[in-house]
């Protein structure tokens, strides 16, 4: 499967920038010595997301750097370290560094590595000063090392004539060198042709640069990484007058492919405005109000909308003209105009909707790569199955559900699936399975992440909960209650904090993000047989194919997906148990009959079963027959949340606005079945 990672990379960068804005805002408000747990949690989460994301996209620099930041933050969160002004400043400069690195990753220009190295050294220093936290071994401060030559470097740099055509800018190179230390350039004018022979796009000059200061060889190499192969280059330590050492050709890292060099033309002098200035400008722009949510829309979609609106305006003015002096002979034109108007409106609606709705595959597509990489890292064999990728989801919901899904899949891979040896011992196949599934149910979107791994360790979670004071020893807790502890901040049963997971961040973020969307998350697990996390999200702005039904004077909407069939009631097939619970014999099944007017306290046309229609529906895995007075049209409806201005109502999943402007309620099939099972009890408590 080939996946276009580029589109997700853009998403990751934007999300990370938002995360950084949050970190920055919180840090700026933080007072030394008075760290609010909530605030630290917020920063920590943002850092954690950035780390995870950058690792997924192969930005190892960013993830290594962020890991160090995170480790420090973890100590702060655990209360092992006090927040000093120094620490806050260090975190703030880390934020700047990460932002620079992200910008670098996004636009492909090189970043000021010295600054990054400096901040990282600072972080390492702080980490090094007690308390010593577990820093995974692979985090080596590679950028800082690399045999800094005490005296500096002598660089002989002779560009080939066509170097500038590949988009390299000599000025930029020198600027970066100058940032590292004292730079004394000497221009060699030998190659300069006479003015008449000069090609403006050719590089004719060469340089001999003396760079003073304690600078690592790698840093210098990094500056010239982009021009490798386009020039003659020799870098020798100062005071070491040996024969110039050729730059190894294999220095050209694969990162070049991932982020192509900016195609700058080669104006040598005018382009003085430094990258730094520009980034600073961007930064200021990014900083404003981290609360604002946004959706990214392709410019082509906006253009299409503008076109449609234009057409709409034309049609409207045409109709307006027609109306000014109307006579009966123009009826045909009026009809045409109205037809046009209808078409325009429908197209406009479809276009606007299409902006918000996307198949969930957008969120799923990043997982094959992630699981693949994690498998390699953790030495596990895992097959990722996905189904229901075409389930449509509101774009904003999708964006918010992305991170929680990453966490859950990561957890499933890291903690859920066992290593091949253990699996074979347990009598399972060597390859574990992680299954992602999405589907619509009763006005909700359900996303399931299941694995066939070891399952949750109930006793261990309970022990940990007791240890953390979340539960008492003698408490008699159900499985669901115990699994709920997983969603507490900082709760982790993992023994080892790994690069992948185990810090106990994650799950609380997952829950928080999902509840922020008005959804819920359930855990099911059987020891030895794996666990299933089910995310239930309301369709806040989704569209639904609905069947309009009439009960008395009211119109309700039943989601078409829940309807199995509709039929007229034959009284001979109706049985009543204990005189109240009515059952309908449909072929071989007995269906409970729910009289909708009864459940909703309305006045029906007729209380007789034969006069109404029975709509057979399925929800929450149960079937029932809903008694309605009449079936009306089928149409697509836009779901409006009742909760925005009111609250959740039992048996109702939302509302919509009908063609005549009135409000109609959408029946929550699962809810109404539950409501009728609980009998009047539920209705009474709601009315109390």
């Amino acid at each position: 499967m080939s996946i276009d990672m580029e589109q997700f990379k853009a998403t990751f960068i934007e999300e990370s920038l938002e995360g950084l804005d949050i970190m920055e805002a919180v840090l700026l408000e933080m007072q030394p010595g008075m760290a609010d747990a909530e605030e630290v949690d917020n920063i920590f989460r943002a850092a954690h997301s950035i780390k995870g994301g950058s690792a997924t996209f192969g930005f190892s620099d960013i993830s290594n750097f962020t890991h160090v930041v995170e480790t420090l933050l973890d100590q702060v969160r655990a209360g092992e370290r006090e927040v000093t002004q120094e620490a806050i400043n260090l975190f703030l400069s880390s934020v700047d560094c990460i932002r620079d690195m992200l910008a670098g990753a996004q636009e492909g220009f090189e970043i000021n590595l010295e600054q990054v190295a400096e901040v990282k050294a600072g972080l390492d220093r702080m980490l090094g000063s007690a308390p010593q936290a577990a820093v995974p071994a692979e985090i080596e401060p590679e950028a800082t090392d690399g045999s800094p030559a005490a005296g500096g470097w002598k660089i002989v740099f002779k560009p080939f004539p066509d170097m500038l055509r590949s988009g390299n800018d000599v000025v930029r190179l020198f600027r970066e060198l100058a940032d590292m230390g004292e730079m004394i350039p000497k221009v060699e004018l030998e190659g300069l042709p006479a003015l008449v022979d000069m090609e403006p796009e050719e590089a004719c000059l060469s340089w001999e640069v003396t760079l003073n200061g304690s600078i690592g060889r790698e840093q210098v190499d990094e500056v010239f990484e982009w021009v490798d192969g386009d020039c003659e280059l020799s870098i020798t330590p100062l005071g070491d007058e040996k024969a110039p050492e050729d730059m190894p050709a294999d220095k050209l890292s694969t990162a070049v492919e991932a982020s192509p060099a900016p195609l700058q033309a080669a104006p040598l002098v005018e382009n003085r405005r430094s990258n730094n200035d520009r980034r600073q400008g961007d930064r200021r722009k990014n900083r404003s109000s981290s609360e604002n949510s946004s959706i990214r829309v392709g410019i082509d979609k906006v253009d299409a909308l503008i076109n449609l609106v234009g057409e709409l305006v034309i049609t409207q003015s045409m109709l307006g003209q027609l109306g000014e002096d109307f006579s009966m002979d123009k009826v045909e034109r009026l009809k045409d105009g109205l037809a046009e108007l209808e078409r325009n409106t429908r197209e406009l609606q479809e276009n606007v909707m299409s902006i918000r709705m996307l198949p969930i595959s957008f969120a799923f597509n990043r997982f094959p790569r992630m699981v693949h990489d994690l498998c390699g890292k953790l030495e596990k064999k895992i097959e990722l199955k996905m189904s229901g990728e075409q389930t449509e989801l509101d774009k904003t919901v999708m964006e918010k559900i992305g991170d929680p899904l990453v966490h859950l899949v990561r957890n499933a891979v890291d903690h859920g699936i066992e290593t091949p040896e253990i699996r074979i011992k347990a009598g399972k196949s060597e390859t574990g399975t992680v299954h992602l599934n999405a589907y619509h149910q009763g006005g909700n979107i359900l996303i399931e992440i299941s694995d066939d791994g070891a399952g949750l360790n109930r006793d261990r979670i309970l022990a940990k909960a007791i240890e953390r004071g979340l539960a008492n020893n003698g408490d008699n807790l159900s499985d669901a209650e115990i699994f709920d502890f997983l969603f507490q901040p900082g709760f982790s049963t993992a023994d080892v904090v790994s690069d992948v997971s185990g810090r106990g961040v994650g799950m609380d973020v997952v829950k928080r993000n999902i509840t922020a969307l008005g959804g819920a998350i359930d855990v099911e697990s059987r020891s030895g047989n794996g666990s299933t996390f089910t995310i239930r999200l309301p369709l806040t702005l989704a569209i639904l194919d609905g069947q309009l039904v009439r009960v008395g004077e009211q119109t309700f909407i039943i989601p078409l997906v829940s309807i199995i069939e509709s039929l007229q009631v034959e009284s001979s097939r109706v049985n009543a148990i204990a005189g109240s619970a009515e059952l309908y014999k449909l072929r071989d099944d007995y269906l409970p009959i729910i009289r909708l007017y009864d459940a909703f306290g309305l006045k029906p046309d007729s209380a007789s079963l034969e006069d109404g229609l029975l709509v057979v529906v399925e929800g929450h895995g149960q079937q029932a027959g809903l008694l309605v007075d009449d079936l009306l049209a089928q149409q697509q409806v836009v779901i409006k949340s009742l909760e925005t201005n009111f609250k959740k109502v039992g048996g109702i999943s939302g509302a919509t606005i009908l063609g005549d402007g009135t409000v109609a309620l959408i029946v929550d099939i699962g809810g109404i079945i539950e409501l009728s099972q609980n009998g009047r009890k539920c209705a009474n408590s709601a009315a109390a």
Partner: protein, 173 residues
């Protein structure tokens, strides 16, 4: 919460130092006032879509330019004799704050009356009637032209009882 505190916070939110403006309306012969900055619009009574299994005073929901807005009958909310809806019956659409979220709700009243400027010092706390009358919803009493105007604390009123949003409801779902 202390009534004086409520008044203070109410005034702080209006951002005015020397008094606030209140829109008043009539309800069973009494004049009530609400902070005018909270009033979104005033519209005539139109048919609503009832919501099943909710108390009588929640009349239902209407479509306010694409937003679903619940409508509360204030007479029924206060336990007064309900009145036939007539041409004078109006719905005042209000912005109700709850913590840092705002909701839009409509209240059905007999008629809209006037707009008054009320000085802070002339706003008096409602006397405590003990358990006979719940004065929690009353922000204060103002006297304008010798008549008493009851200033309502709409945030409190429209977030109480059945109107309260139960966060737990989402969790149980």
């Amino acid at each position: 919460m202390d009534v004086a505190e409520q008044i203070a916070s109410g005034l702080a939110s209006t951002g005015e130092v020397d008094g606030s403006q209140f829109l008043t309306f009539l309800l069973a012969g009494e004049e009530y006032g609400v902070d005018i900055l909270r009033v979104q619009e005033i519209k005539g009574w139109n048919a609503v879509t009832p919501i099943p299994n909710t108390p009588e005073y929640i009349r239902g929901v209407i479509n306010l330019r694409g937003t679903i807005v619940p409508i509360v009958d204030l007479r029924r909310r206060f336990g007064l004799e309900p009145m036939e809806y007539g041409p004078m019956t109006v719905v005042i659409v209000l912005k109700v704050m709850r913590e840092d979220k705002s909701r839009v709700m409509g209240i059905v009243v007999d008629a809209v009356s006037d707009v008054y400027n009320v000085q802070d010092e002339s706003l008096k706390p409602a006397p405590d009637f003990g358990s006979v009358v719940n004065v929690d919803f009353v922000q204060g009493l103002a006297t304008v032209d010798e008549t008493m105007v009851i200033i309502l604390d709409i945030d409190h009123l429209l977030n109480s009882g059945e109107l309260a949003v139960m966060d737990s409801a989402i969790e149980h779902k």
